[in-house]
Amino acid sequence: MSFPWAEQYTPKHPVMQWVDEKLPLPRLVYNAVGAGYPVPRNLNYFWNFGVLAGLALVIQIVTGVIMAMHYGANDLVAFGTVEQTMRDVNAGWLMRYAHANGASFFFIVVYLHIFRGLYFGSYKAPREMVWLLGLVIFLLMMATAFMGYVLPWGQMSYWGAKVITGLFGAIPVVGEPIQTWLLGGFAPGNASLNRFFSLHFLLPFVIAGVIILHIWALHIPGSSNPTGVEVKGPQDTVPFHPYYTAKDGFGAGVFLIAFSILLFFAPNFLGHPDNYIEANPLSTPAHIVPEWYFWPFYAILRAFTVDFFFIPAKLLGVLAMFASILLLFFLPWLDTSPVRSGRYRPTFRKFWWILLGDVAVLGYCGGAPAAEPFVMISQIAAAYYFAHFLIILPLIARFEMPLPLPGSITEAVLATYGKTDGETAAVPAE
């Protein structure tokens, strides 16, 4: 599970020795996120985002449990209790704004975490399971965020619930029964609101469980690093604590500053004014859009406007949207290049930037009205998204000539920062 040179947990206090014999939980923590976990010495700041995502989850669970203390999960009172939390409950406004903006920040750090993995090839062997579990977490996050957005029972909540459950209605034959089953009625109503509340409360803890598996799977091969070259000896690593607890601590400070700026100065910047109108089943808001973090997928959903053979456009859009995420589960086997890091893959690197731009364009179109030119742009961008993973990546892996890799992490570090005097440990200990 760890490198042989990892520091050993040796409790000195008799109480800690007693605990270690009965339940070695402190030992587990020490080996997982303490000095007992050796980490490559060259991690850059893009490696902060896993810990930051964990921090965001903690913020969401704390503020969310508090929100639940003041919330009434009933369609008659839900909207009112959220407004009451905002106006009457002590610091209620802070809890709600922190929870709503916390969701956005959770997605920001997770998207950075995912694109970090895409750039540095973190999904490649032997870390495929880490990637797959990460995608499971991402799917759970999307479900949780969607159901949470329904709870204030505003116009966007209601119509979001209707549109998203309508996606399942597109499935032939069983679609409508599934939609009715999900909603507990023919349209979103009290039954839907109650079950969404129950699941919205449950899923974050499921996410926490899968995060433990994600970290467990990561710790078997150990963390990747910006060179993509595996650890070869003790000189390539430093203990997680204090080196990366300190580095992550700094990252957490920056994260909290950015979070506070949005939370205290523009708490409604990422929201929709329509959600301050109570749900009305008889009136659709002029412009239904999901929260920004769903926009790229929403753009893919709307990109299909004509039937293809016998498949209706509606079903195609739904299939494409789900496929755009499911596709990522196959990524470790689509990108067959043995070189992990984009640093040593000149062609791959360019296409990574194009993909980033493509997803940004999809995001912009997903938030724009369903009209030209956005529909056509989303069609092109959606086609490119699939081409990137299904055609371009396998082709690059076959034809690209990677740059020479450094002999070891230490060699790469010393090539950048090392002085010729003194440091002679640049020899990889193989």
Partner: protein, 188 residues
Amino acid sequence: MASVEQTDGTGPSGEDGVRRRDFINIAAVSFAGVGGVAVVLPLIDQMNPSADVLALASTEVDLSAIQPGQAIKTTFRSQPLFVRQLTAKEIAEADKVDPATLRDPQTLEERTVDGKKQWLVTMGVCTHLGCVPLGAGEGENRGEFGGYFCPCHGSSYDTAARIRKGPAPKNLEVPKYSFTSDTAILVG
């Protein structure tokens, strides 16, 4: 264990080497499996609409106040219902279209009650993803085919509420209804 039992000949084994214990094992696990599935059924079924949601009264709609060219928006099974009295011009426009060219081919006759062609009763639920189309209210955008227009993803319906453009796959649904008098319908 199993191999010991078989080789020393103490276990009762059939001709093909299948032992009583194998049968008991499979039978017990199968029984527990069927029981497990039986328990899951109510756990899933509780999410289906409850009796009070299903016990939906049919809706009666009074048509007397609706002038030609006007529409009203009411509810049926907690979803919007559009009732429109078509003008002669709208009926002519709907009849002019060859149904074979439509995505969901239907004539206006098929979508209305015999002899009451001017009364168009449809659900106000876009067949794409369930938004309420515009066009029933006074002055709302009725789209380029003069019927209903869904603002969510741009589906346009014609004067017979048939899908003409955009992502929706079907015409606006016509619920079951009957005329109880010349100026009243019973939906459901």
